[in-house]
C-alpha cells in the first residue's frame, strides 16, 4: 500500500510539475535564448554589447530604487512600531487600512498623484490662490521617487509590523530594567530582532521600484527613463524582442545579486544577536 501512495503522491503533483516546467522554467530559457540571438535566430553578442548605451538608465533606476527603498524604511519603521503597540482590535483596523490602498488599481492611484502635483493641479491651484505662485513638482525626479514610495510603502510597513507584533514585550522591559535608555533599547534590542522584517521589506520595495515603468512615465513625464520603460518600449513599440530580452536578463541578474547581498547582510546581523 505504501508503494501505491507514494506513486499517488507523485501523480497528484505532476500537473503542477508539468505546468512549472512549461510556464516558469521554459520562459526563463527563452529570455536567455532571445538575449543571445538576433531577429533571424542566429547567435550574437550584439544585444549584450548594445546594453552599454543604457548604462545611465540602469544607474538611474538603481539610484531611484535605492532612494525609494530607504525612504520607505525610514517612514515605515515608526508606523509599524506604533501599530504594533496598539490594542489587538486597533491593530486589525490599522493593518486593514494600510492594505486597503494596495487593492486599488496602482495606475489610477499614480494618475491621481498627477492630478495633485501638476502645474494646474490641486496643490498649485491652492498656491496660486494664496499668491505663492506655481511650484514645479510634476516631471521631476522627486515626483518619480514619491510615486515609488507611495505605491510600495505598504510592502515595507506590513513585514515590519508582523515582526514587531511578535516581539516579546518582556525582552524590551528586561532591557529597560537593566538600565538601557530608549535609544539603547531600540538599537540593541528592537532593531536586531526586527532584521528579518527589514530584509523582506527591503526586497519587497526594491524589486518593484527598480523595475517599474508606469510611475516614471506618468510622474516623470518621460524625461527620466528607467529600465522598465526601456524594456516596455522594446516589447510594445519598437518590437526588438532580442534587445528587450537582454535588458530583462541583466535586470534579473542585478536583482538576484542585490538579494544575495541583502540576505548575507541581514543574516550576519542576526548572527550578532546570537
Amino acid at each position: 500500500m505504501n508503494k501505491k501512495t507514494s506513486l499517488g503522491n507523485r501523480l497528484v503533483a505532476s500537473p503542477y510539475l508539468l505546468w512549472s516546467v512549461l510556464f516558469i522554467v521554459a520562459p526563463m530559457f527563452f529570455v536567455i535564448y532571445y538575449s543571445f540571438t538576433n531577429s533571424a535566430g542566429a547567435f550574437t553578442f550584439e544585444n549584450i554589447t548594445e546594453l552599454a548605451k543604457y548604462t545611465d538608465t540602469f544607474l538611474r533606476s538603481i539610484w531611484f530604487g535605492v532612494l525609494a527603498t530607504i525612504i520607505c524604511l525610514v517612514l515605515a519603521y515608526p508606523i509599524a512600531y506604533i501599530i504594533a503597540q496598539t490594542s489587538s482590535n486597533a491593530q486589525r483596523t490599522l493593518v486593514a487600512l494600510v492594505m486597503l490602498p494596495m487593492w486599488m488599481n496602482f495606475l489610477i492611484r499614480t494618475y491621481s498623484w498627477m492630478a495633485i502635483l501638476q502645474d494646474t493641479g490641486i496643490i498649485n491651484t491652492f498656491l496660486n490662490k494664496i499668491g505663492i505662485g506655481t511650484i514645479r513638482m510634476i516631471n521631476t525626479p522627486g515626483a518619480v521617487i514619491l510615486g515609488m514610495v507611495y505605491n510600495f510603502l505598504p510592502f515595507m510597513i506590513l513585514p515590519l509590523y508582523s515582526v514587531m507584533a511578535k516581539l516579546d514585550k518582556s525582552v524590551i522591559e528586561a532591557a529597560q530594567d537593566l538600565g538601557g535608555n530608549r535609544l539603547d533599547v531600540v538599537r540593541k534590542v528592537i532593531l536586531p530582532l526586527s532584521m528579518p522584517g527589514i530584509a523582506s521589506g527591503l526586497t519587497m520595495v526594491f524589486v518593484p521600484s527598480v523595475s517599474t515603468f508606469y510611475i516614471s512615465q506618468k510622474l516623470g513625464g518621460g524625461s527620466f527613463d528607467l529600465i522598465g520603460d526601456v524594456i516596455e518600449r522594446q516589447f510594445q513599440q519598437s518590437y526588438n524582442y532580442n534587445l528587450g530580452a537582454s535588458i530583462s536578463l541583466v535586470l534579473m541578474v542585478l536583482i538576484l545579486f542585490s538579494m544575495a547581498f541583502l540576505t548575507k547582510f541581514t543574516t550576519e546581523g542576526e548572527g550578532m544577536v546570537i
Binding site: M1, K4, T5, S6, N9, V12, A13, S14, P15, Y16, L17, W19, S20, F23, I24, V25, P27, V31, P78, I79, Q85, N89, R92, L94, A96, L97, M99, L100, P101, N105, F106, L107, I108, R109, Y111, S112, A115, I116, Q118, T120, G121, T125, Y150, L153, P154, V207, P208, V210, S211, F213, Y214, G228, F235, Q236, Y241, G244, A245, L251, M252, M259
Partner: protein, 268 residues
Amino acid sequence: MKLPSKIYTFLIFLFLYAPIIVMIVFSFNSTNSTGLMAGFSLRWYAVLFSNKNIMQALYNTLILAVASALIATVIGTAAAVGIDKWKKNLFRSSVMGVTNIPMMTPEIVTGVSMMLLFVFMGRVIGRQGILGFGTILIAHVTFNLPYVILSVLPKLRQTDPHLAEAAQDLGCTPLRSFFKAVLPSISPGIVTGMIMAFTLSLDDFIISYFTTGPGFQTLPIAIFSMTKKRVKPDMYALSTLIFVSILVLLILTNVAQARGENKKKKNI
C-alpha cells in the same frame, strides 16, 4: 497612543489616502477638470455606465479572475498534497525553488518571459495573433500557483498524517480518505489561497499587459490605455466604485473575524 505618535500616524495615513480622497472628490465634479472642483454632479457615473468598453473589460476581468483562481486552486492544492509527502531532498528543494521564481522575479520580467514563450510558440505553429484569452489565462494561473501552494502547505504540515491512514484502515480508498479526512482540515488554507489568487488576478496589470492581445482587454489594461490620454473623471468614478466595494468587503471580513475571536474568548 502619545500625541507625537498620533500625529505621525495621521500623516502617514493622509499620505496613503491623499490620492484616493482626491479621486473620490473629483469623481463628483460637474466639469471634466481633475484640478478644480466646479460643482457636484453624478454625470461621470452616467458616462461610466454607458461606456461599453469599460463594461466589457470589467466582465473580462471577472471571468479571468474566477477561471484562473479555480484552475490554480485545483492544480496548486494537488501539488501541495504531493509535495508535502516528498522526502526532503534535492528534487523537493528545486521544485520549491522553481515555485518561488514567480514571486521573486520582477513582474515585468515574468510578463516579458511569458510573452517570448507565447510569441515563439505562435511562430512554431504559424499563428500571428496568439496573444489573447488563452495566453493571459495561462499567465494568471502561473503567477497564482505559488500563492495557493504556499498557503496550503502549512495547513498540510499541521494535519496529523495518521488521520488519512486511519481512514484507510477503516476501509476508505486513498482518494476517499483524502476527501473525508484531509480536505476538511486544509480547507482554510485552500480558501485563503483561492481568495489571494482571485484578488491578484483582478488587480494585475504588468503581466497582463505583456500576455494579452487587442482581442481581450482587462480592466487594468483599459485603464492604462485611458490614462495615456487625458483622463476624464469617469475613471475616478470607476475607481470610487471599486474602492467602495473593497471597503465594504474588508469591513465585513473584519467584523466576521472580530466576532470569531470574541466567541473563542468566551469559550475559553
